[in-house]
Symmetry: C2
């Protein structure tokens, strides 16, 4: 069987690092237990191996086509949506009231990781449906919930997020799709939406768009945007499904992520596209962002899932491909060695593993915060909420950016073979590339982190993070073999304090343009420290386990963990030093560079 994720690592993170079973002491999760969590993950893995992974190449090579105004997708999509629905995967994280299992987000996250690693495009259909249905359950009227949610969570109807317009990509406040009030309880929608993932296809009976639009007369900018349910087919008075005046203008031919369509949709060409308001008028952007934050974490998760699949493909190749000999060995009669024995190849593998397992750890940490936020109260709830808010741009952007590097390195491990379609790594590199773009580009995440999250509530979240890291450092200082890493992280935190202080001072003296001019660098700088923290947490759990009795295989696993932590600190955290040099440089060259200086 082809390996695309490590179940052992998932178990390590869920049980040993984050002790997920502690969640079951809370009422909301009390019907679960650790054994059930194991079963869920086993089932997800079986499902992914049997139904999703075998379609990876096929869905890539047979991308969606626009035929007579409808998007035709791979015939397996119908089956996938059906099985996801019937298996309860779409709504597993929903409350019982809304047809779900109240599964903790950390376990739901683990299953999403497995599905995305097996076949990201295939996983996007149900995942998008989950997000859209969740938005309706969170803000929609009971009537909207009753009409849409059951069919979405059983996989019969597709859900989408319809935000982007030609003139409103990163700048969502520039949305101009209009919603005109009628006296019949619905609005008339008119406008164009672009890049809508799963925006139309023949694998489902209907497509339900959660769409942002501007009600006639609403204030300009972000404060005048509302959220609507806009179905492809609407239910008429006879309970029949009839077309809702949405036209598929085109579909995009993409570098990767080819198994799922991205469509341009035109609403109301016949002035007969109806939408139903979800939540409060003009609060659409804030409603959408509740979902968007979860979506961003899922993007980070999908990136690290794809990087995981690429890593295991590369690992397998390096174990089997023989090429070259030890450097000190020049005898041509000696057999060539598996390339995994070359230090440079081990470095490339350690890099990939450090990115995959470091990112996954952070994302499951975020999921755990979300779970705890849900079941705790007062100050504790606030704390988890703030930490989650703070770390979301990191959990989205770092895996997305490093996922590109990591899949690229997977190709390098294959040499020329990696450049060919016979091996999956070239597809992984194409697939992963979307994640630094959709659900907010890396630049947008950077502005969110430095411009919003670091300074919110007078830096409360930032200080809470410092406390969390200190706790980890103090624990690590007590464990033989971890002092070096604890001290390195403490030094990095000192550096973070200096850099942040420098930037805040610049903010006060020189304004927001200077403050945010290198936000993207700050995001990378901050991320390297955050991931080091996650590696130290994993190092603590590994060292503890190595201190007890464990099997040879477990010993290998934990030793590998410690080596990978060591790798991340020495090769990747060290890069924060260079970023700090630039971040504390007073030269504002990107502000001063004029567009005409690019001309010649």
């Amino acid at each position: 069987m082809t390996k695309f994720i490590s179940k052992r690592n998932l178990q390590f993170l869920i049980k040993e690092v984050f002790e997920t079973k502690t969640l079951t002491s809370y009422d909301y999760y009390s019907e679960h237990n650790e054994k059930m969590f194991d079963m869920v993950i086993d089932e997800a893995l079986k499902f992914a191996v049997k139904l999703m992974y075998p379609l990876l190449d096929e869905m890539d090579k047979n991308p969606p086509e626009l035929v007579d105004g409808e998007v035709k997708v791979h015939s397996a999509v119908k089956k996938i949506m059906k099985e996801f629905g019937q298996g309860g995967w779409i709504a597993s994280g929903f409350s019982k009231v809304h047809g779900g299992d109240q599964l903790p987000f950390i376990i739901k996250g683990a299953t999403s990781f497995i599905f995305a690693a097996a076949n990201y495009s295939a996983s996007a259909y149900p995942e998008l449906t989950t997000g859209a249905a969740e938005l309706i359950t969170s803000f929609g009227s009971q009537s909207l919930i009753d009409t849409y949610v059951p069919k979405m969570i059983n996989g019969k109807w597709q859900g989408t997020m319809a935000l982007t317009e030609p003139q409103a990509g990163s700048s969502l406040s520039d949305i101009i799709t209009t919603a005109t009030r009628t006296d019949k309880g619905h609005f008339k929608i008119k406008g164009v939406k672009t890049f809508i993932s799963a925006g139309d296809h023949d694998g489902v009976e209907n497509v339900i768009h959660l769409m942002l639009a501007r009600i006639d007369g609403a204030p300009p900018g972000a404060k005048g945007i509302s959220l609507f349910v806009v179905p492809k087919l609407r239910v008429d008075s006879d309970d029949d499904l009839v077309p809702n005046d949405i036209t598929v203008a085109s579909i995009y031919h993409k570098l990767g992520y080819r198994g799922a369509p991205a469509a341009e949709l035109s609403m109301g060409e016949k002035d007969d596209c109806r939408g139903w308001l979800v939540g409060i008028e003009n609060k659409g952007l804030s409603h959408m962002f509740q979902m968007m934050n979860e979506a961003r974490i899922l993007v980070g998760l999908a990136s690290c899932a794809i990087a995981s699949a690429a890593y295991y493909a590369a690992l397998d190749h390096t174990e089997n491909r023989r090429q070259g000999r030890p450097l000190a060995q020049k005898d041509p009669f000696i057999d060539q060695i598996p390339i995994i024995e070359h230090t440079d190849v081990k470095r490339m593998l350690l890099f990939q593993r450090s990115i995959v397992e470091g990112s996954l750890s952070l994302i499951l940490q975020c999921c755990m915060y979300a779970d705890l936020m849900k079941v705790t109260k007062g100050e504790e709830k606030e704390k988890y909420g703030l930490l989650l808010d703070l770390l979301t741009p990191v959990a989205k952007a770092f895996p997305s950016e490093q996922g590109i590097v990591s899949t690229n390195i997977a190709i390098q491990c294959f040499g020329g073979y990696g450049y060919c379609e016979d091996f999956p790594v070239e597809q992984y590199m194409r697939d992963v590339r979307i994640h630094a773009i959709h659900e907010g580009t890396t630049g947008i995440q950077a502005l969110d982190l430095l411009g919003r999250k670091i300074v919110m509530e007078n830096g409360k979240a930032a200080f809470l993070f410092v406390d969390e890291v200190k706790k980890t450092i103090n624990t690590a200082l007590e464990i033989p073999g971890l002092e070096f890493f604890a001290n390195q992280l403490a030094n990095a935190m000192k550096m973070l304090e200096n850099v942040t202080g420098f930037l805040i001072t610049a903010y006060g003296k020189k304004g927001v343009d200077v403050y945010l001019s290198d936000a993207t660098l700050f995001l990378e700088f901050y991320s390297r420290i955050v991931i080091s923290w996650q590696w130290l947490i994993q190092g603590i759990a590994s060292k503890k386990a190595l201190g007890g009795s464990c099997s040879k295989k477990d010993r290998w696993f934990y030793k590998g963990k410690v080596f990978t932590m060591n790798y991340f600190f020495r090769y990747e955290l060290s890069k924060a030093d260079s970023l700090a040099i630039r971040l504390m440089d007073e030269d504002n060259l990107t502000l001063e560079m004029k567009p005409e200086y690019f001309k010649d």
Copy 2:
């Protein structure tokens, strides 16, 4: 017209930075003058714009197919080869004796840059032919030259480099293709070659392989490899072309570089494949490396050409795409601004420009060394030769690796559009990816630099490089506005001395495995310093020009140069600090990490 290179920048480098016309004072180049160089570049550009660029997308979308044992390529290939031949482009750098123009390599390089930027796949056919024909002229007998070279340089016959075998990729010494001596002046060839670019196609009448093989009874390893001409069709006694028993076993379906085929060839299945020895028996690898070094520089050049094309596509998009407003401006009634006005976008553009123009400068510097080596004598000749040898792995690997990053950033400048096939950047990212793999992977270049070039002749080349940089620093120190950069480079050179000293000491104490364990990091570290040197050289020329009178457009160009130099020093050279931290770290984790620790 779509811009894929900057002619202004080429002129700047050729005339103002490297003062190429000084070459014409040497006998060998005395028939040329600056005006002729200008004309050559103008012609190349016209040719590229008219014939090559328009086929970029088409050749990508219609890759070669293997039909009835022959590779069918895009019909334009025939025309391209013909025009390249008739235009004299294939042999332009050859001596008059061999049908060439004795064009300096720096000018030939500029034309290769233009062709690769317009359409890399299309340019590969003639470039490979140049390399193969050059090898025959360098080492072949007059009879071989007469038989093959004229038809190759007029574009009728394709040339290839046939090195790689299934078990001999990076480890070329493991070649097992055999050559059995006959009493008829030729050898019988038997074996399999993989990944042979332009290894077969119907755009030419014949394909001439410059192939490495092992003569029966030759010593094992690198010392027993010989070089042969092995044609697809051989000339029989009646002067007819007859099949030479080479079978195309398969062609590869690749991530990019799709306009040119990569073939697996099987020789001698009927025991009737004939090869003719080129040069000296068992010296094949060293003969091949004379060509290979030039090929490596051309790979670097092609990478930066593709990155150039991606950069100009991104620049154009950012000038025209409006999105968002200045950070301090929240009024939604204000028009959105071109995204080139956002600092983060300017940073991304400066990054690309710094990589493209910094790499191109280094490569033309190498070409200049090659030209000077050709026409000078004694110590001077030795100096240029050593510098060229030293810098070749840098000129190959840095643009290849950073070309991936640069084209990736070009996609990011486009946002979602960059992920779609409607814009060329996704193709550029796919095309450029090959360069870190073929003609020696980055890991191989790293071993070449640290394991061979730095230490050769007791570090003579490394010290010559230090002298060159010192000269540049001293010049810069005299120019107002360049002190900062001169000092930064001087500090970096001090750091280089420390790192190299540290590694050499480790070599002595701990052996070659430790010395070379982070060779790839050293290569990047060294490259960042080398490129900074090239940027300072460009900064000197720009500051000089700005000191005189120049047009507004020229002023923009030079100011842009100074900003880009500033960018490279502050954002890219600073990364050398982090690499130095790791390179001087005593922990040998990649040596100690065991393959089994990757298991779980």
